[in-house]
Amino acid sequence: MAETIDTPAPKALPFAHTDLLDTAELTAKEIRFLLDQAESFHEINERQVKKVPTLRGATIMDCFFEPSTRTRSSFELAGKRLSADVINFSAAASSLKKGESLRDTARTLAAMGTDLIVVRHPASGAAAYLAHELEVPVINAGDGCHAHPTQALLDLFTLRRALGRLSGLKVAIVGDITHSRVARSNLLAMRTLGVETRVCAPPTLLPAAVERYGCRVFYRMADAIEGVDAIMMLRIQRERQGGGAFPSLREYAHNYCLTRSHLALAAPGCVVLHPGPINRGVELAHDLADGPESRILDQVTAGVAVRMAVLYLFWQQHGSRQ
């Protein structure tokens, strides 16, 4: 498939979305198509020369209204490897709260005349609002606690590579589900793909009616992990203990830190994922983070490929409308 990437032929896409706001809006076929495209880019990323001319002349605006190192670098690298001009537009969330409305931000972005906008914002719904206001495709790089579709896609990409399939897998997601856009986007995509999901956390970190995602709910790690093919550990925001969600990091780690002894309960060949950055000793035992089960670095690599696929497909989608 790589040859079609070097000289992209106009190809009928299996979907008509103009923006990528969440995995909820994608069908199983569409998700598989995106992952297949990402495979081609992944191959490019393994070459010595990693740059392709696909998006030469296109301008991508990465708008981060919330601090982010990983996602931002990943999108920037993805854009640059596609030969796009990548521009960073950043505003501290605090200054946004003070003055400029999201509408004015949207109008400013529109006036700059970019071809694609990648947005991260601390408020749930901000990406949808910008997509509504803007003609150009908007890629959601995380909005509040709501959605983070490219993270879910890269997690799925990593799982599919590691385990050879998605449908029928059993996956446990452990940690702060309430505040996690990563968990939400994964749960929605996994339901669509026929992955059996479980969530595990203290009840204080589970949102109301979480079972409506089609997942089973557990409070104890040993129960949640029994027989699973993959475990996705979520980052704990240290400030949550102030909110009374748990008494101390020590007690949290005692109950929810993944250790090697847990893995014995999982299915043979079980892999471990984490969206990073890891709190070693809180979410993951030190040795597990670097162990053979860990696919954490694969996730980082997959992130670039998946984002290249997303940028390429949505840019192409928009180009074909003009």
Binding site: S124, A128, C145, A208, R212
Partner: protein, 428 residues
């Protein structure tokens, strides 16, 4: 000869169990007679219209003084008149707070010439800060009809007890915005699947219920009447019903939006659907509708809460709470009659005599000699809600674009026609 006769309308006066097609004569600002074949200096043909007491809203925010870009006494009064209201009670969360007799008097004086009667509600605590009592006696003397810290729940239970004790001699109800701030937290919509799905922080029903429970107990302790504003939960309805069953002086109001909408109806992240208390579940909606029908809830109140577009056009988390409702109320709640949930007479009661009794207001009925406050509405008129055409200065309305059935046409306040054919007579 009467000054004005409303001819041939379907007169519904729940306070007197009247439902008949007849004429109403008005003289010197009072109801002079009901009967067939009346004549006056002026007459308005009300054939096909319902003629009822002017609507009474116990709960509006008119933003005056201090936030006149959102609303003021005149624009709010015009919005009320256009909605068929002849009396509105305005909440004290103005800038400065209505917590002294001087501010209450200023509001009463400035509102005197407006199209509707505006009756201030004074604050319970100074600056709504929940720390020290406001000058309740001074405000009542100046014309306050109730006290409330609306917008905030009084967190200090001892202070609330003191407020209720102190208010007792003034014979006014204490109106609560029941909200436990710790349970409310940073919530922005009802806690439940919809909030989870949207990644928004939830507000549990318990945040409302625990203060209703507490204040019912304090009402029992002090003997002061308690009025629960904008009741929205199943649990709250049960608490109020049980208190009434025990003979306590506990009443409640409900908003049109809590009667008709639920959290799952909300378009994703639309700030014009953000209010406090939030839209609740379908079961909660059922509970408040049933309570309205069985009389547990005696008043429909709009909680008209104007905000400028630039204030609402923010991410959902940051947008202020509140929606406007004066100009849509009647058209919205008439749907309950068509759904067979409540009779037309009972619905009108909850908009007139019901609220009048709760705040001890004169009005709300059409007895001879009563204030000539009337609302004439076409129960069959279909119209589309276009906020840009509102008399209110604000546009934050969840009903925008909806088609409603039933529209107020003529509003008469103290014998003056303040709205005719849907147009406020002193405006435009």
């Amino acid at each position: 000869m009467p000054d004005l006769v409303l001819k041939n309308g379907r007169v519904i006066d729940p306070a007197h169990a009247i439902d008949a097609t007849t004429d109403i004569a008005i003289r010197h600002g009072r109801i002079a007679a009901l009967g067939d074949g009346l004549d006056g200096a002026e007459s308005i043909d009300c054939t096909g219209l319902v003629v009822c007491p002017g609507l009474i809203d116990l709960h509006v925010h008119l933003r005056d003084p201090g936030q006149e870009w959102k609303e003021d006494l005149l624009s709010g009064g015009r919005a009320a008149a256009a909605g068929g209201f002849t009396t509105v009670c305005c909440m004290p969360n103005t800038l400065p707070t209505n917590d002294t007799g001087a501010i209450t008097r200023d509001m009463v004086e400035r509102a005197a010439d407006g199209p509707v009667r505006i009756l201030p509600v004074g604050a319970i605590t100074r600056g709504l800060a929940g720390e020290a009592l406001a000058e309740i006696g001074e405000m009542v003397t100046a014309g306050a009809v109730a006290i409330s810290d609306d917008g905030c729940g009084v967190q200090d239970s001892h202070l609330m007890r003191r407020a209720m004790e102190y208010a007792k001699p003034f014979e006014i109800p204490v109106v609560i915005h029941p909200q436990d701030d710790h349970l409310f937290g940073h919530g922005v919509m009802n806690e439940g699947w919809r909030a989870t799905e949207l990644g928004l922080a939830g507000i549990p029903s318990a945040a409302e219920d625990v203060q209703i429970d507490r204040d019912i107990r304090l009402s029992a302790l002090t003997g002061t009447p308690l009025h629960v504003a904008h009741l929205s939960t199943t649990g709250g309805v049960e608490l109020v019903r049980r208190a009434q069953g025990a003979g306590l002086l506990v009443s409640a109001e409900v908003t049109p939006h809590h009667l008709l909408l639920t959290d799952t109806d909300m378009p994703a992240y639309d700030p014009d659907w953000k209010m406090s208390p939030p839209l609740r579940s379908a079961a909660d909606r059922e509970a408040v509708v049933a309570a309205l029908a069985d009389g547990t809830i005696q008043a429909i109140a709009t909680d008209h809460a104007p905000h400028a577009p630039e204030e609402k056009e923010r991410p959902f988390d940051d947008a202020p709470f509140g929606v406007i409702g004066l100009e849509t109320c009647l058209g919205v709640v008439l749907a309950l009659v068509r759904e067979g949930r409540i009779s037309l007479a009972d619905l009108i009661h909850r908009l007139t005599a019901g609220p009048a009794r709760l705040f001890g207001l004169d009005g709300g009925h059409l007895g001879v000699g009563a204030r000539a406050d009337l609302c004439c509405f076409d129960p069959e008129a279909r119209w589309r809600v276009e906020p840009e055409r509102f008399y209110s200065k604000s546009r934050n309305c969840p009903w925008a674009g909806r088609e409603l059935t039933g529209r107020p046409l003529h509003t008469i306040t103290g014998g003056r026609v303040v709205c005719r054919d849907g147009a406020v007579t002193d405006a435009r």
